[in-house]
Symmetry: C2
Subunit: 229 residues, 2 copies
Amino acid sequence: MRKGLRARHAEIPELTTRRLSIYLRCLEILDAAGVETVSSRELADQFHLNSAQFRKDLAYFGEFGVRGLGYRVSDLKTQLVEILGLNRQIRMAIIGGGNLGTALADYTGFNSSRYRVVALFDSDPAKIGTTSRGGVQVQDVRQLAQQVREQAVDIVVLAVPAGAAQAVLDQAAEAGVQAVLNFVPARLKVPEGVRLKSVDLKVQVEALVFHLARLEQSEAASARTPTGR
Amino acid sequence: MRKGLRARHAEIPELTTRRLSIYLRCLEILDAAGVETVSSRELADQFHLNSAQFRKDLAYFGEFGVRGLGYRVSDLKTQLVEILGLNRQIRMAIIGGGNLGTALADYTGFNSSRYRVVALFDSDPAKIGTTSRGGVQVQDVRQLAQQVREQAVDIVVLAVPAGAAQAVLDQAAEAGVQAVLNFVPARLKVPEGVRLKSVDLKVQVEALVFHLARLEQSEAASARTPTGR
Protein backbone atom coordinates (compact mmCIF):
# COMPACT_ATOMS: atom_id res chain seq x y z
CA MET A 1 0.00 0.00 0.00
CA ARG A 2 2.67 2.39 1.01
CA LYS A 3 4.87 1.53 -1.93
CA GLY A 4 1.92 1.96 -4.29
CA LEU A 5 1.15 5.39 -2.93
CA ARG A 6 4.75 6.52 -3.08
CA ALA A 7 5.12 5.33 -6.63
CA ARG A 8 1.99 7.13 -7.71
CA HIS A 9 3.11 10.33 -6.04
CA ALA A 10 6.57 10.15 -7.49
CA GLU A 11 5.05 10.24 -10.96
CA ILE A 12 3.24 13.55 -10.56
CA PRO A 13 4.81 15.87 -13.12
CA GLU A 14 6.37 19.14 -12.05
CA LEU A 15 4.09 21.00 -14.46
CA THR A 16 1.10 19.65 -12.52
CA THR A 17 2.56 21.09 -9.34
CA ARG A 18 2.96 24.45 -10.99
CA ARG A 19 -0.62 24.37 -12.24
CA LEU A 20 -1.84 23.45 -8.74
CA SER A 21 -0.14 26.62 -7.49
CA ILE A 22 -2.03 28.59 -10.11
CA TYR A 23 -5.35 26.96 -9.17
CA LEU A 24 -4.67 27.83 -5.56
CA ARG A 25 -4.14 31.48 -6.43
CA CYS A 26 -7.44 31.50 -8.38
CA LEU A 27 -9.29 29.93 -5.47
CA GLU A 28 -7.82 32.48 -3.08
CA ILE A 29 -9.18 35.26 -5.29
CA LEU A 30 -12.63 33.64 -5.38
CA ASP A 31 -12.59 32.99 -1.65
CA ALA A 32 -11.64 36.61 -0.93
CA ALA A 33 -14.54 37.67 -3.16
CA GLY A 34 -16.94 35.57 -1.09
CA VAL A 35 -17.58 32.91 -3.76
CA GLU A 36 -18.57 29.65 -2.05
CA THR A 37 -18.78 27.13 -4.88
CA VAL A 38 -17.38 27.00 -8.41
CA SER A 39 -17.56 24.52 -11.28
CA SER A 40 -14.46 23.58 -13.23
CA ARG A 41 -15.94 25.32 -16.26
CA GLU A 42 -16.60 28.57 -14.39
CA LEU A 43 -13.10 28.48 -12.97
CA ALA A 44 -11.64 27.82 -16.41
CA ASP A 45 -13.64 30.63 -18.02
CA GLN A 46 -12.80 33.19 -15.38
CA PHE A 47 -9.07 32.49 -15.19
CA HIS A 48 -8.40 31.26 -18.74
CA LEU A 49 -7.61 27.73 -17.61
CA ASN A 50 -8.29 24.42 -19.32
CA SER A 51 -11.16 22.80 -17.41
CA ALA A 52 -10.35 19.24 -18.55
CA GLN A 53 -6.74 19.74 -17.45
CA PHE A 54 -7.94 21.11 -14.13
CA ARG A 55 -10.08 18.02 -13.46
CA LYS A 56 -7.26 15.73 -14.55
CA ASP A 57 -4.73 17.47 -12.30
CA LEU A 58 -7.02 17.20 -9.28
CA ALA A 59 -7.77 13.54 -10.05
CA TYR A 60 -4.20 12.69 -9.05
CA PHE A 61 -5.14 13.44 -5.48
CA GLY A 62 -8.67 12.11 -5.16
CA GLU A 63 -12.26 13.20 -5.54
CA PHE A 64 -12.88 16.84 -4.64
CA GLY A 65 -15.97 18.01 -6.49
CA VAL A 66 -19.57 17.53 -5.49
CA ARG A 67 -21.81 16.35 -8.33
CA GLY A 68 -24.17 19.09 -9.53
CA LEU A 69 -22.58 21.64 -7.22
CA GLY A 70 -18.96 21.87 -8.30
CA TYR A 71 -16.21 22.58 -5.81
CA ARG A 72 -16.49 24.21 -2.41
CA VAL A 73 -13.96 27.03 -2.83
CA SER A 74 -12.79 27.18 0.75
CA ASP A 75 -12.43 23.39 1.12
CA LEU A 76 -10.55 22.95 -2.14
CA LYS A 77 -8.25 25.81 -1.18
CA THR A 78 -7.40 24.13 2.11
CA GLN A 79 -6.78 20.83 0.35
CA LEU A 80 -4.46 22.40 -2.23
CA VAL A 81 -2.53 24.14 0.52
CA GLU A 82 -2.00 20.73 2.12
CA ILE A 83 -1.17 18.97 -1.14
CA LEU A 84 1.40 21.63 -1.97
CA GLY A 85 2.86 21.47 1.53
CA LEU A 86 2.12 25.14 2.14
CA ASN A 87 0.57 24.66 5.57
CA ARG A 88 3.76 24.98 7.55
CA GLN A 89 7.10 26.76 7.50
CA ILE A 90 9.92 25.07 5.59
CA ARG A 91 13.19 25.01 7.49
CA MET A 92 16.38 25.14 5.47
CA ALA A 93 20.03 24.56 6.27
CA ILE A 94 22.78 25.79 3.99
CA ILE A 95 26.08 23.96 3.70
CA GLY A 96 28.95 26.13 2.55
CA GLY A 97 29.75 29.47 4.19
CA GLY A 98 31.42 31.01 1.14
CA ASN A 99 30.02 33.87 -0.90
CA LEU A 100 27.17 31.87 -2.39
CA GLY A 101 26.19 30.09 0.85
CA THR A 102 26.24 33.34 2.79
CA ALA A 103 24.23 35.12 0.08
CA LEU A 104 21.65 32.33 0.15
CA ALA A 105 21.49 32.39 3.96
CA ASP A 106 20.54 36.07 3.78
CA TYR A 107 18.37 35.76 0.65
CA THR A 108 15.02 37.44 1.30
CA GLY A 109 13.18 34.70 -0.55
CA PHE A 110 14.53 32.12 1.91
CA ASN A 111 13.56 34.15 4.95
CA SER A 112 9.84 34.79 5.00
CA SER A 113 6.81 33.43 6.78
CA ARG A 114 7.08 30.48 4.39
CA TYR A 115 10.78 29.65 4.47
CA ARG A 116 13.45 30.06 7.11
CA VAL A 117 17.18 29.48 6.99
CA VAL A 118 17.88 27.94 10.39
CA ALA A 119 21.51 26.95 9.99
CA LEU A 120 24.63 27.59 7.92
CA PHE A 121 27.54 25.15 7.95
CA ASP A 122 31.19 25.21 6.96
CA SER A 123 34.30 23.18 7.73
CA ASP A 124 36.70 26.14 7.82
CA PRO A 125 37.63 27.00 11.46
CA ALA A 126 38.09 30.62 10.37
CA LYS A 127 34.44 30.80 9.35
CA ILE A 128 32.84 28.75 12.13
CA GLY A 129 31.36 31.07 14.74
CA THR A 130 31.09 34.05 12.39
CA THR A 131 27.67 35.42 11.50
CA SER A 132 26.15 36.38 8.15
CA ARG A 133 24.90 39.93 7.69
CA GLY A 134 21.37 38.61 8.18
CA GLY A 135 22.32 37.01 11.48
CA VAL A 136 22.78 33.33 10.62
CA GLN A 137 25.70 31.83 12.52
CA VAL A 138 28.18 29.55 10.74
CA GLN A 139 28.40 26.20 12.50
CA ASP A 140 30.81 23.30 12.22
CA VAL A 141 29.59 20.94 9.49
CA ARG A 142 30.44 18.05 11.82
CA GLN A 143 27.34 19.06 13.78
CA LEU A 144 25.15 18.65 10.71
CA ALA A 145 23.35 15.46 11.80
CA GLN A 146 22.64 16.80 15.27
CA GLN A 147 21.41 20.15 13.97
CA VAL A 148 19.23 18.60 11.27
CA ARG A 149 17.43 16.71 14.07
CA GLU A 150 17.30 19.49 16.65
CA GLN A 151 16.32 22.22 14.20
CA ALA A 152 13.93 19.95 12.26
CA VAL A 153 15.58 20.83 8.95
CA ASP A 154 13.45 20.03 5.90
CA ILE A 155 15.75 21.02 3.06
CA VAL A 156 19.51 21.20 2.78
CA VAL A 157 21.07 23.61 0.29
CA LEU A 158 24.46 22.63 -1.15
CA ALA A 159 26.80 25.56 -1.78
CA VAL A 160 30.20 23.95 -1.24
CA PRO A 161 33.17 23.66 -3.61
CA ALA A 162 32.63 20.99 -6.28
CA GLY A 163 35.23 18.67 -4.76
CA ALA A 164 33.42 18.52 -1.42
CA ALA A 165 29.87 18.16 -2.75
CA GLN A 166 29.52 14.35 -2.87
CA ALA A 167 30.83 13.83 0.67
CA VAL A 168 28.57 16.54 2.05
CA LEU A 169 25.56 15.16 0.17
CA ASP A 170 26.20 11.68 1.58
CA GLN A 171 26.54 13.17 5.05
CA ALA A 172 23.22 14.98 4.69
CA ALA A 173 21.54 11.76 3.52
CA GLU A 174 22.90 9.88 6.53
CA ALA A 175 21.52 12.62 8.74
CA GLY A 176 18.07 11.78 7.33
CA VAL A 177 17.69 14.70 4.95
CA GLN A 178 15.16 13.88 2.19
CA ALA A 179 15.35 16.99 0.03
CA VAL A 180 18.43 18.79 -1.28
CA LEU A 181 18.74 21.92 -3.40
CA ASN A 182 22.07 21.78 -5.17
CA PHE A 183 23.98 24.79 -6.49
CA VAL A 184 27.21 22.89 -7.11
CA PRO A 185 28.06 22.34 -10.78
CA ALA A 186 29.18 18.72 -10.30
CA ARG A 187 27.81 15.31 -11.20
CA LEU A 188 26.50 13.84 -7.98
CA LYS A 189 25.41 10.32 -7.11
CA VAL A 190 22.13 10.87 -5.32
CA PRO A 191 21.77 8.68 -2.23
CA GLU A 192 18.63 6.57 -1.93
CA GLY A 193 15.76 8.33 -0.20
CA VAL A 194 16.97 11.79 -1.24
CA ARG A 195 15.31 14.05 -3.79
CA LEU A 196 17.93 16.34 -5.27
CA LYS A 197 17.16 19.39 -7.39
CA SER A 198 20.06 21.06 -9.12
CA VAL A 199 19.97 24.74 -9.98
CA ASP A 200 21.84 25.71 -13.14
CA LEU A 201 21.90 29.48 -13.40
CA LYS A 202 23.15 29.25 -16.98
CA VAL A 203 19.67 28.16 -18.00
CA GLN A 204 18.33 31.50 -16.79
CA VAL A 205 20.72 33.31 -19.09
CA GLU A 206 19.81 31.30 -22.16
CA ALA A 207 16.49 33.02 -22.77
CA LEU A 208 18.29 36.39 -22.72
CA VAL A 209 20.96 35.17 -25.13
CA PHE A 210 18.23 34.04 -27.50
CA HIS A 211 16.58 37.46 -27.23
CA LEU A 212 19.88 39.17 -28.09
CA ALA A 213 20.43 36.86 -31.06
CA ARG A 214 16.96 37.75 -32.36
CA LEU A 215 17.70 41.45 -32.01
CA GLU A 216 20.94 41.10 -33.95
CA GLN A 217 19.32 39.09 -36.70
CA SER A 218 16.45 41.52 -37.13
CA GLU A 219 18.89 44.42 -37.20
CA ALA A 220 20.93 42.63 -39.84
CA ALA A 221 17.75 41.90 -41.79
CA SER A 222 16.58 45.50 -41.61
CA ALA A 223 19.99 46.71 -42.74
CA ARG A 224 19.57 44.57 -45.86
CA THR A 225 16.14 45.95 -46.77
CA PRO A 226 15.62 49.39 -48.31
CA THR A 227 12.84 50.10 -45.81
CA GLY A 228 15.20 49.58 -42.87
CA ARG A 229 16.87 52.53 -41.24
CA MET B 1 9.78 45.63 -42.00
CA ARG B 2 12.05 45.86 -39.03
CA LYS B 3 9.17 46.36 -36.62
CA GLY B 4 7.35 43.39 -38.13
CA LEU B 5 10.34 41.15 -37.65
CA ARG B 6 10.90 42.28 -34.10
CA ALA B 7 7.29 41.77 -33.19
CA ARG B 8 7.28 38.27 -34.62
CA HIS B 9 10.44 37.38 -32.79
CA ALA B 10 9.21 38.78 -29.53
CA GLU B 11 6.31 36.33 -29.63
CA ILE B 12 8.42 33.18 -29.76
CA PRO B 13 7.61 31.28 -26.57
CA GLU B 14 10.35 30.30 -24.14
CA LEU B 15 9.31 26.65 -24.45
CA THR B 16 10.09 26.83 -28.18
CA THR B 17 13.58 28.06 -27.36
CA ARG B 18 14.07 25.17 -24.99
CA ARG B 19 12.90 22.70 -27.60
CA LEU B 20 15.26 24.24 -30.15
CA SER B 21 18.11 23.51 -27.74
CA ILE B 22 16.96 19.90 -27.57
CA TYR B 23 16.76 19.64 -31.38
CA LEU B 24 20.26 21.02 -31.61
CA ARG B 25 21.56 18.37 -29.24
CA CYS B 26 19.87 15.64 -31.33
CA LEU B 27 21.37 17.04 -34.56
CA GLU B 28 24.80 17.13 -32.96
CA ILE B 29 24.45 13.44 -32.16
CA LEU B 30 23.38 12.63 -35.73
CA ASP B 31 26.13 14.80 -37.20
CA ALA B 32 28.75 13.10 -35.04
CA ALA B 33 27.41 9.74 -36.26
CA GLY B 34 27.89 10.83 -39.86
CA VAL B 35 24.17 11.15 -40.71
CA GLU B 36 23.75 13.67 -43.54
CA THR B 37 20.00 14.04 -43.91
CA VAL B 38 17.05 13.31 -41.66
CA SER B 39 13.29 13.66 -41.98
CA SER B 40 11.23 15.16 -39.17
CA ARG B 41 9.63 11.76 -38.64
CA GLU B 42 12.96 9.94 -38.34
CA LEU B 43 14.20 12.59 -35.94
CA ALA B 44 11.02 12.32 -33.88
CA ASP B 45 11.16 8.52 -33.76
CA GLN B 46 14.79 8.36 -32.78
CA PHE B 47 14.69 11.01 -30.06
CA HIS B 48 11.09 10.65 -28.87
CA LEU B 49 10.07 14.07 -30.15
CA ASN B 50 6.81 15.26 -31.65
CA SER B 51 7.42 15.65 -35.39
CA ALA B 52 4.53 18.10 -35.92
CA GLN B 53 5.81 20.22 -33.05
CA PHE B 54 9.30 20.10 -34.53
CA ARG B 55 8.10 21.39 -37.91
CA LYS B 56 6.00 24.06 -36.21
CA ASP B 57 8.91 25.25 -34.07
CA LEU B 58 11.21 25.53 -37.09
CA ALA B 59 8.53 27.34 -39.10
CA TYR B 60 8.99 30.38 -36.82
CA PHE B 61 12.34 30.92 -38.45
CA GLY B 62 11.77 30.04 -42.08
CA GLU B 63 11.96 27.10 -44.45
CA PHE B 64 14.71 24.62 -43.61
CA GLY B 65 13.72 21.27 -45.08
CA VAL B 66 14.16 20.07 -48.64
CA ARG B 67 11.07 18.39 -50.09
CA GLY B 68 11.52 14.64 -50.45
CA LEU B 69 14.90 14.76 -48.74
CA GLY B 70 14.25 16.09 -45.26
CA TYR B 71 16.80 18.23 -43.47
CA ARG B 72 20.50 18.46 -44.11
CA VAL B 73 21.78 17.70 -40.61
CA SER B 74 24.89 19.84 -40.73
CA ASP B 75 23.12 22.87 -42.23
CA LEU B 76 20.23 22.75 -39.79
CA LYS B 77 22.67 22.43 -36.91
CA THR B 78 24.51 25.56 -38.03
CA GLN B 79 21.25 27.43 -38.40
CA LEU B 80 20.02 26.45 -34.95
CA VAL B 81 23.33 27.54 -33.43
CA GLU B 82 22.79 30.94 -35.03
CA ILE B 83 19.12 31.18 -34.08
CA LEU B 84 19.98 30.35 -30.48
CA GLY B 85 22.83 32.86 -30.46
CA LEU B 86 25.34 30.15 -29.62
CA ASN B 87 27.89 31.17 -32.23
CA ARG B 88 29.81 33.59 -30.06
CA GLN B 89 30.83 34.14 -26.45
CA ILE B 90 28.39 36.04 -24.26
CA ARG B 91 30.00 38.73 -22.15
CA MET B 92 28.45 39.47 -18.79
CA ALA B 93 28.88 42.26 -16.26
CA ILE B 94 27.72 41.89 -12.68
CA ILE B 95 26.54 44.86 -10.66
CA GLY B 96 26.83 44.40 -6.91
CA GLY B 97 30.05 43.23 -5.28
CA GLY B 98 28.39 41.70 -2.21
CA ASN B 99 28.26 37.99 -1.45
CA LEU B 100 25.85 37.17 -4.25
CA GLY B 101 27.54 39.32 -6.90
CA THR B 102 30.95 37.94 -6.02
CA ALA B 103 29.64 34.37 -6.03
CA LEU B 104 28.10 34.96 -9.47
CA ALA B 105 31.30 36.53 -10.80
CA ASP B 106 33.16 33.33 -9.88
CA TYR B 107 30.32 30.97 -10.83
CA THR B 108 31.71 28.21 -13.08
CA GLY B 109 28.61 28.30 -15.26
CA PHE B 110 29.27 31.96 -16.07
CA ASN B 111 32.91 31.37 -16.94
CA SER B 112 33.24 28.89 -19.77
CA SER B 113 33.92 29.00 -23.49
CA ARG B 114 30.32 30.13 -23.84
CA TYR B 115 29.99 32.80 -21.12
CA ARG B 116 32.47 35.14 -19.56
CA VAL B 117 32.13 37.56 -16.66
CA VAL B 118 34.15 40.55 -17.85
CA ALA B 119 33.32 43.08 -15.13
CA LEU B 120 32.04 43.42 -11.57
CA PHE B 121 30.78 46.75 -10.24
CA ASP B 122 30.06 48.27 -6.86
CA SER B 123 29.64 51.76 -5.42
CA ASP B 124 31.40 51.03 -2.11
CA PRO B 125 34.92 52.57 -2.11
CA ALA B 126 36.02 49.80 0.26
CA LYS B 127 35.19 47.20 -2.40
CA ILE B 128 36.36 49.02 -5.53
CA GLY B 129 39.78 47.72 -6.56
CA THR B 130 39.46 44.43 -4.69
CA THR B 131 39.38 41.17 -6.66
CA SER B 132 37.10 38.16 -6.43
CA ARG B 133 38.63 34.76 -5.73
CA GLY B 134 38.24 33.95 -9.42
CA GLY B 135 40.14 37.10 -10.39
CA VAL B 136 37.41 39.56 -11.40
CA GLN B 137 38.23 43.07 -10.25
CA VAL B 138 35.54 45.25 -8.63
CA GLN B 139 35.17 48.52 -10.52
CA ASP B 140 33.38 51.75 -9.71
CA VAL B 141 29.77 51.53 -10.90
CA ARG B 142 30.15 55.08 -12.24
CA GLN B 143 32.28 53.54 -14.99
CA LEU B 144 29.45 51.24 -16.04
CA ALA B 145 28.56 52.98 -19.32
CA GLN B 146 32.18 53.22 -20.40
CA GLN B 147 32.91 49.60 -19.52
CA VAL B 148 29.76 48.29 -21.20
CA ARG B 149 31.01 49.88 -24.42
CA GLU B 150 34.69 49.01 -24.10
CA GLN B 151 34.12 45.44 -22.94
CA ALA B 152 31.21 44.83 -25.34
CA VAL B 153 28.97 43.65 -22.50
CA ASP B 154 25.94 41.66 -23.67
CA ILE B 155 24.17 40.96 -20.40
CA VAL B 156 24.12 42.78 -17.08
CA VAL B 157 23.39 40.83 -13.91
CA LEU B 158 21.73 42.74 -11.07
CA ALA B 159 22.86 41.66 -7.60
CA VAL B 160 22.51 44.91 -5.66
CA PRO B 161 20.44 45.70 -2.54
CA ALA B 162 16.73 46.07 -3.34
CA GLY B 163 16.79 49.81 -2.70
CA ALA B 164 19.44 50.43 -5.34
CA ALA B 165 18.06 48.14 -8.03
CA GLN B 166 15.87 50.57 -10.00
CA ALA B 167 18.56 53.25 -10.27
CA VAL B 168 21.15 50.72 -11.38
CA LEU B 169 18.76 49.20 -13.91
CA ASP B 170 18.03 52.63 -15.40
CA GLN B 171 21.75 53.33 -15.55
CA ALA B 172 22.37 50.07 -17.41
CA ALA B 173 19.60 50.88 -19.88
CA GLU B 174 21.10 54.31 -20.53
CA ALA B 175 24.42 52.60 -21.17
CA GLY B 176 22.71 50.68 -23.97
CA VAL B 177 22.32 47.32 -22.23
CA GLN B 178 19.52 45.28 -23.82
CA ALA B 179 19.42 42.22 -21.57
CA VAL B 180 19.38 42.06 -17.78
CA LEU B 181 19.34 39.06 -15.45
CA ASN B 182 17.86 40.21 -12.16
CA PHE B 183 18.46 38.55 -8.79
CA VAL B 184 16.98 41.39 -6.75
CA PRO B 185 13.63 40.59 -5.12
CA ALA B 186 12.07 43.97 -5.96
CA ARG B 187 9.42 45.22 -8.34
CA LEU B 188 11.26 46.98 -11.12
CA LYS B 189 10.01 49.24 -13.88
CA VAL B 190 11.73 47.86 -16.95
CA PRO B 191 13.11 50.61 -19.22
CA GLU B 192 12.12 50.49 -22.89
CA GLY B 193 14.47 48.44 -25.05
CA VAL B 194 15.53 46.21 -22.16
CA ARG B 195 14.61 42.55 -21.74
CA LEU B 196 14.69 41.71 -18.03
CA LYS B 197 14.57 38.19 -16.64
CA SER B 198 14.11 37.84 -12.91
CA VAL B 199 15.41 34.81 -11.05
CA ASP B 200 13.37 33.74 -8.04
CA LEU B 201 15.22 31.01 -6.21
CA LYS B 202 12.13 30.25 -4.13
CA VAL B 203 10.59 28.64 -7.21
CA GLN B 204 13.41 26.10 -7.21
CA VAL B 205 12.54 25.11 -3.67
CA GLU B 206 8.85 24.61 -4.35
CA ALA B 207 9.23 21.30 -6.16
CA LEU B 208 11.14 19.96 -3.16
CA VAL B 209 8.53 21.19 -0.73
CA PHE B 210 5.87 19.41 -2.74
CA HIS B 211 7.94 16.22 -2.67
CA LEU B 212 8.23 16.44 1.13
CA ALA B 213 4.50 17.04 1.49
CA ARG B 214 3.82 13.91 -0.61
CA LEU B 215 6.17 11.87 1.58
CA GLU B 216 4.43 13.02 4.73
CA GLN B 217 1.00 12.29 3.34
CA SER B 218 1.93 8.83 2.16
CA GLU B 219 3.51 8.09 5.54
CA ALA B 220 0.37 9.28 7.29
CA ALA B 221 -1.75 7.16 4.92
CA SER B 222 0.36 4.07 5.48
CA ALA B 223 0.18 4.58 9.25
CA ARG B 224 -3.62 4.42 8.95
CA THR B 225 -3.70 1.17 6.99
CA PRO B 226 -3.11 -2.23 8.61
CA THR B 227 -0.71 -3.16 5.79
CA GLY B 228 1.49 -0.17 6.60
CA ARG B 229 4.58 -0.68 8.70
